[in-house]
């Protein structure tokens, strides 16, 4: 999965699509399997990135990798009360309005109003927070100023970032990352959580979940949620019923900005353990190294040998994710320092291209249309903390290349930049005209089929593996499971 952040318009269509399909039930009202937050901001649930408090993800202990929260050792003393479990206050209490009172109120002197009522208790309530309370930097003195990622910035940098004339923001849509090294799965005492081998989707077996809630604290992205009504945890299922029938997940399908790309990649699972122990600065590279080139004959042979169907290999070759992540190195994982190896990658935002900072002031009237990336409004260090575990070079590389593509395309389409300048920009960004055109095409002109390359799931064959198709041939109809015995 790749989300291209420059293209996200923050419309929340994705969240609504998901909510309508999956989380419109009792116990799930507060869940947003897909949510879009404004950065800088504290996000949803509040300050989810602060792992000192929430204890999500893995930490390196010498050469060993340990869950920060309920590891095997810690589950015994903590099973009766999970010390790092977020509570509903950290999300928000869901509410609705008594709309019928607008119509049924008896005639009187006052205008009838629809009072907010809690969706948990049904009682009237005062609304104190919502899942998007800081949308578009609303209340930023409180929210943006408390963004845990701002820690890496110096005091003047922080001040500048929040100063009104320099205000910078972008949207960060988030779903479960369906990680390679999922801490949620590793923490589940019941063994109810698992990663599907075929497509890597991380799921919770609802019949086996017993509400120990370990996954909720273990997921550093806070993407498993506890259903207070059923007593089971739930999470994004990447719309697997849609995927299995060849459709893109609801949030991908409905995305207005067309920022979302989906495709399978072949990776070397044997490297995961070693890679997860890399030092912070090398995590992005270690992660990238696990993704294999599906056009490499050796990789193809190895994939075949381990039983990957040809259809899956073919779609890996067409995968937009492979191109963004490995080929072009444009897409980066969110908070890879949690060491779960998220399989959702983000193209870091470059916008706004046309403004430049001079001292404390942002100017949009400069002649040079393409500002130096060092002077972009969002400090590189901030992006580096989000997308590269502090290795700012990775972000710089991605931004420089994106900028070079723009310069190149400006040269091609408008022509007010001469070829030499444009080519120099490309060379500096380690890019070629062909690559720049390909990036441009997949970024701006991509069709549905370019964006979503869904491998054949071969359910018909998968079925054969689970049950013998001849099993029910002679059985009575109406769903009886036993064959008639007459002989």
């Amino acid at each position: 999965m790749v989300f291209h952040l420059d293209k996200c318009i923050g419309c929340h269509t994705c969240s609504i699509a998901c909510k309508n399909v999956w989380t419109d039930r009792e116990g799930t009202e507060y869940m947003w399997w897909n949510n879009v937050e404004t950065k800088p901001g504290t996000g949803y649930p509040t300050k989810w990135e602060n792992q000192e408090e929430y204890k999500g993800g893995w930490k390196k202990n010498g050469d060993k990798l340990e869950l920060r929260s309920t590891s095997k050792k810690k589950i015994i003393p903590n099973i009766f009360h999970n010390p790092s479990m977020p509570s509903m206050d950290d999300y928000y209490e869901p509410w609705t309005y008594k709309y019928d009172e607008l119509f049924n109120a008896p005639e009187g002197d006052d205008q009838p109003v629809a009072r907010p009522v809690s969706m948990i208790t049904g009682e009237p309530m005062d609304i104190e927070a919502g899942p998007n309370w800081d949308d578009d930097l609303g209340g930023s003195p409180v929210y943006a100023a408390n963004d845990p990622n701002m820690d890496v910035l110096s005091e003047p940098e922080r001040k500048q970032m929040l100063a009104i004339e320099r205000m910078v923001m972008f949207y960060l849509p988030r779903i479960c990352n369906h990680c390679l090294n999922p801490s949620c799965v590793a923490s589940c005492p019941s063994g109810a959580m698992y990663k599907r081998g075929e497509d890597g989707i991380v799921l919770i077996n609802q019949d086996r979940c017993r509400a120990w809630r370990s996954c909720v604290s273990a997921c550093p992205y806070k993407k498993t949620y506890y259903n207070w009504s059923t007593g089971k945890s739930e999470k994004c299922i990447l719309c697997f019923p849609r995927l299995e029938s060849g459709q893109a997940p609801a949030c991908f399908h409905s995305c207005v900005g067309r920022i979302r790309y989906l495709g399978n990649v072949l990776y070397d699972a044997d490297q995961i353990e070693q890679a997860a122990r890399s030092p912070d600065g090398e995590l992005v590279e270690a992660h990238r190294k696990m993704v294999l080139d599906p056009n490499d004959p050796e990789v193809i042979a190895a994939a075949r040998a381990s039983g990957i169907p040809d259809g899956v290999i073919e779609s890996a070759q067409k995968s937009p994710v492979f191109r963004f992540v490995k080929d072009w190195k444009l897409a980066l994982p969110l908070h890879v320092e949690y060491r779960t190896f998220p399989m959702l990658f983000y193209v870091p935002p470059l916008l706004p291209v046309m403004s430049q900072t001079e001292g404390d002031v942002v100017r949009s009237d400069v002649d040079d249309l393409f500002a130096d990336i060092e002077k972009t409004r969002a400090p590189i260090a901030y992006l580096g903390k989000l997308f590269a575990a502090g290795n700012d070079g990775k972000v710089r590389y991605a931004l420089r290349k994106q900028l070079a593509v723009r310069i190149w395309r400006r040269h091609v389409t408008v022509g007010d930049i001469d070829e030499e300048t444009a080519k120099r920009a490309l060379v500096e960004a380690e890019c070629t005209p062909e690559e720049a055109d390909a990036i441009f095409k997949l970024t701006s002109l991509a069709t549905f089929d370019d964006r979503f390359v869904i491998p054949p799931f071969q359910r018909e064959m998968a079925m054969e593996m689970i049950t013998d198709p001849h099993e029910h041939r002679s059985s009575a109809g109406f769903g009886f499971r036993e064959a008639p015995t007459r002989s």
């Binding site: 095997k72 589950i75 099973i79 009766f80 009360h81 999970n82 479990m85 977020p86 509570s87 509903m88 206050d89 948990i120 208790t121 009682e123 090294n181 999922p182 799965v185 590793a186 589940c188 005492p189 019941s190 063994g191 959580m193 698992y194 990663k195 599907r196 081998g197 075929e198 609802q206 019949d207 086996r208 979940c209 017993r210 509400a211 120990w212 809630r213 909720v216 506890y226 207070w228 009504s229 059923t230 007593g231 089971k232 075949r304 381990s306 039983g307 990957i308 169907p309 040809d310 071969q458 064959m461 998968a462 054969e464 593996m465 689970i466």
Partner: protein, 229 residues
């Protein structure tokens, strides 16, 4: 006669209900096996209820199991009054821990509006039964100083007579009323157990400690799939 019904018949009914319903519920409605935690709705008071209650009850139950399995060991331990005192005091301490936890649990369920929302009739029944059980247990420990020896000399043989399908209530019939309340209520708890969220006790996640860290499940048998394409 009453004694026979309560001490000779009720245990069988309770155990049969327990076995039939837990198994059937697991098979037919496995989804409903959950501890139904409400920590998500209320995170602070929960600690002072759940933690003391669980630790307390685990130790107390362990004591009962030891008394049942090793009655002679208990008796010889109790031969010295000092040691009896140590045993009784430890028992009482953990029983009080249990009671503190239980009272906190009930208070939390009554006072917190969100926790109240998820409290069902079956929860209330469980709380009532547990309160009777723990309070009667503490009363025995405090007022009937030889409780643990009685367990070894009277309850254990009676339980064995139940297991051997020849119930002999004469072992327990002469015991004080409060002990009988404790016993009868225990079997009521066992009988109600499968209808409540107490079933989470049966699915404690012990395999976690030795399973592999990550769980990957394939629908395809990869090697066979290869041959069919």
């Amino acid at each position: 006669m009453n004694d026979f019904v309560l001490l000779g018949v009720l245990p069988y009914i309770a155990v049969v209900v327990f076995l039939l319903v837990t198994i059937q519920r697991y098979r037919m409605k496995g989804f409903s096996y959950s501890s139904l935690s409400s920590q998500f709705l209320e995170n602070q008071h929960h600690f002072w209820g759940s933690v003391p209650f669980h630790y307390g009850i685990l130790v107390v139950l362990l004591g009962h199991v030891i008394g049942f399995l090793m009655p002679t060991a208990i008796l010889s331990w109790n031969a010295e009054p000092v040691r009896l005192l140590i045993l009784e005091v430890t028992g009482i301490a953990f029983a009080i821990l249990t009671l503190v936890g239980l009272v906190n649990i009930v208070l939390r369920r009554m006072t917190n509006r969100l926790a109240r929302r998820v409290t069902t009739w079956s929860d209330l029944a469980v709380y009532a039964l547990l309160l009777v059980q723990v309070i009667s247990g503490i009363a025995i420990a405090v007022f009937e100083g030889w409780g643990s020896s009685w367990f070894a000399t009277s309850l254990t043989p009676w339980l064995w007579s139940l297991i051997k399908l020849s119930p002999d209530v004469s072992y327990v019939a002469p015991l004080p009323g409060i002990v009988k309340v404790h016993i009868v209520n225990a079997f009521l708890l066992i009988g109600f157990f499968p209808f409540t969220r107490l079933v989470h006790v049966l699915v404690v996640p012990n395999p976690y400690l030795w399973r592999k860290t990550q769980v990957v499940i394939w629908n395809w048998d990869r090697s066979r799939l290869r041959k069919t394409t």
